[in-house]
Subunit: 438 residues, 2 copies
């Protein structure tokens, strides 16, 4: 399973990494997916925490007892049954009938990725600009790139997107005559940083976008995975209009079913359905029935608590290990939920150049550059804590810290550690064996 | 289930029908989906012919025993296991290793629709021209429209696409300075006509496209559903290069799982995978495991025979009833496989204008105009025989023939029957009750 997750990531990541060839990266990740490697690189939920026997029984009945419906074609918007259940899920976060949420305006998608792709398809023309946090979700960068749009990153701090920076970016782009289509934001337990946009900033960000006439695309896969009480209400809970709310069951139930959704502004709901039909005809009836039945008959709220507990324990393991083991000069975020911690390395370290040595030391992470459209992020990395158990996380951090210490020592000896090639030359004089790039 | 299928069709069709508002069409199809209406309008396979108990048992085990893999993320290209099984399926039609088919070049998609959408996304720019049979699959028209491409129809006869007409269309478009990107064709048991491109024409069509430097996008959802021996080998079995081969398990197993595929020319396989990832991240691991396990452990070749038998019997029921009951001047195709018959009405009848009266008489079909990008097809309709049982098919034809006889009689009395409004006015003086468009 770790293998699958890493393989999955390889191709996407390979295309976003500069300075290494795709085949080098592919080989690297192939090595990184070996069981002896502690992978902090993935983004996979811990499926083993699900009651798989009960889930399997449910899935079986959906075929044997309801196959003539679930295995047949369905409608492009998704089943009403699931859209109603989705509204129950959103209501937990405060997106309810009171703020205009209705099954009428929900469009079921193939995971959160297709939700994003549909919005991009509807709104983006080549040359358009999308504003997004820097760093942001690598899959969103892929969507915007496919749409030939350009991403302008807005800096973040520990409270999320910086409103003043957003205002400045909008003004700069207006002066430059660029057409900005929307703000893409993951306000809660962000991927890749784990950071949450503060209560106060949520209102300011919405006001700024409203004044600028900018749509907001709110991506919220992690919002119900908080470890320290509830997150601030989603942006969509605060505004009826101008916000697309995107989410998915990939983190709270099962990514392998590929079920996500968009709560769309009513005026564009039909257009999204048309686009969905042109793309996939209809979402899987079977997968929709699986999610709807899971939500309708199984203790999903209890399961959310299980996930929160599991992930909180693993986050703590990661943060504790980092506090104990990381070299001086390393800093990191302290997420209150989600799956990721974002680390900034001591001055001069290059997470991409270091990756082959890390894998050789049997630990993997995702170098930070993949999460930026502009090539920055060299000294950063994303660490996942949802998948490996706590003791493996601690062992991974121990290995990673060791590699970093050696990098720092090498820098002292050789001046600076360059890109991949320079790094590999450097290995001759170090204790780190060369990675198997065969 | 009939309801689902019709509902599904409603939205797509509503947007392609001129002269009636979307809400009129929606209301019409809502009525048409009532159980008392014989629907010859769908395109749904007869799922009840599957061994649903065994399928359900298999689906259950994929969750309970293999959930940690099947419910997890996967890779963008699709699992190797399924891609290998897909190659076994294609080999049945002659697309085998000998002509360069390999799991390496298979990309798993969300049904055949996403396969088509990915190819369109890769190749089409606004203003491009796509050549396609006239009539052609309504969902393909949606894809090309979404890509802002224009469709130029190539006429067909009983042997499929007419090569001389294809040559002429290519020459005309070249003279007009238009950029033609590919020929989209469903050569075997075509949707909507049921017609098959003859052996001899297959080579000629390929030669013409080769000479013109045109890619061929071969859509083959029905090729294994032949009633009279094997169909001529697919175009992809005849040429290694220049042919995209698209297919799906929607007609041979279960559309509700949404699993299709592209066998791509090797040179563009990577680009398709990138596009697939940008769109959906990865296909459903669970659905892929379901199809792969179905193909690996269940008697799917035997099941194909069951489908062929069921559909042959229903086709015969449709053709026999048409021969017995259709008014003089009606003609229709005689499909050797697939799901559809295409009928051409007696001179002067308008299948779209007649639709409300047909639904009032408790029979539904799809008016032919939806299958053309250019508004032609007024006097034609598509009739499905895969879903309703033979006795219902016969009853449906009886009702349809009755409506047509009345239309013909009305034409004699009133001159010509106009569009929907004129048709409704005409009802006051006819025996056909007005449709419930509430």
């Amino acid at each position: 399973m770790t293998g699958t997750t890493l393989d999955d990531y390889t191709d996407r990541y390979a295309r976003r990494v500069r300075g290494m060839t795709a085949s080098e990266i592919r080989a690297l990740f192939a090595v990184a997916s070996r069981p002896e490697v502690v992978s902090l690189a993935g983004g996979a939920p811990y499926i083993a925490a699900l009651p798989l026997d009960a889930v399997g029984e449910m899935l079986g009945r959906l075929g044997s007892e309801h196959g003539v419906t679930t295995l047949q074609y369905g409608i492009g918007q998704g089943t009403l049954e699931l859209r109603e259940r989705i509204c129950e899920v959103m209501a937990l976060s405060g997106i309810d009938a009171g703020c205009g949420a209705s099954p009428e305006d929900v469009v079921v998608t193939v995971g959160g990725q297709q939700a994003l792709d549909l919005v991009a398809r509807l709104f983006l023309d080549p040359g358009d600009v999308v504003l997004a946090e820097g760093p942001t979700y690598v899959g969103a960068l892929g969507v915007f790139q496919a749409a030939q749009a350009q991403v302008a990153h807005v800096p973040m701090d520990a409270d999320g997107l910086i409103p003043e920076a957003l205002e400045a970016a909008i003004a700069d782009l207006a002066r430059a005559g660029r057409r900005v289509k929307f703000l893409y934001t993951i306000p809660t337990y962000q991927n890749p940083t784990g950071v949450t946009l503060s209560e106060e900033r949520r209102e300011r960000v919405l006001d700024i976008c409203e004044r600028a006439g900018l749509l907001v695309v709110e991506d919220d896969p992690y919002g119900q995975l908080g470890f320290e009480g509830d997150a601030p209400a989603p942006l969509r809970a605060r505004r009826r209009d101008g916000v697309f709310y995107l989410s998915t069951f990939s983190k709270t139930f099962a990514p392998g079913l590929r079920v996500g959704w968009i709560l769309a502004p009513h005026a564009v709901r039909d257009k999204l359905v048309i686009a969905n039909e042109a793309q996939i005809l209809c979402p899987s009836g079977y997968a929709q029935a699986a999610v709807a039945t899971y939500l309708g008959t199984m203790p999903w709220r209890q399961q959310l608590k299980v996930y929160r507990e599991v992930y909180r324990e693993r986050r703590d393991a990661l943060l504790d290990a980092m506090a104990d083991l990381m070299p001086e000069g390393t800093s990191w975020t302290t997420p209150a939920g989600g799956l990721f911690v974002w680390a900034t390395l001591p001055e001069g370290l290059d997470s991409k150049a270091m990756m082959p040595r890390a894998v050789a030391a049997r630990v993997a992470y995702v170098p930070g550059t993949g999460f930026y459209a502009d090539g920055t992020g060299t000294g950063t990395m994303r660490l996942n804590f949802s998948f490996p158990p706590p003791e493996r996380i601690r062992e991974g951090v121990r290995r990673l810290a060791g590699v970093m210490e050696q990098e720092i020592a090498m820098r002292r000896v050789f001046g600076a550690v360059g890109g991949g090639a320079a790094g590999r030359r450097g290995q001759a004089g170090s204790d780190v064996p060369g990675p198997d790039l065969a």
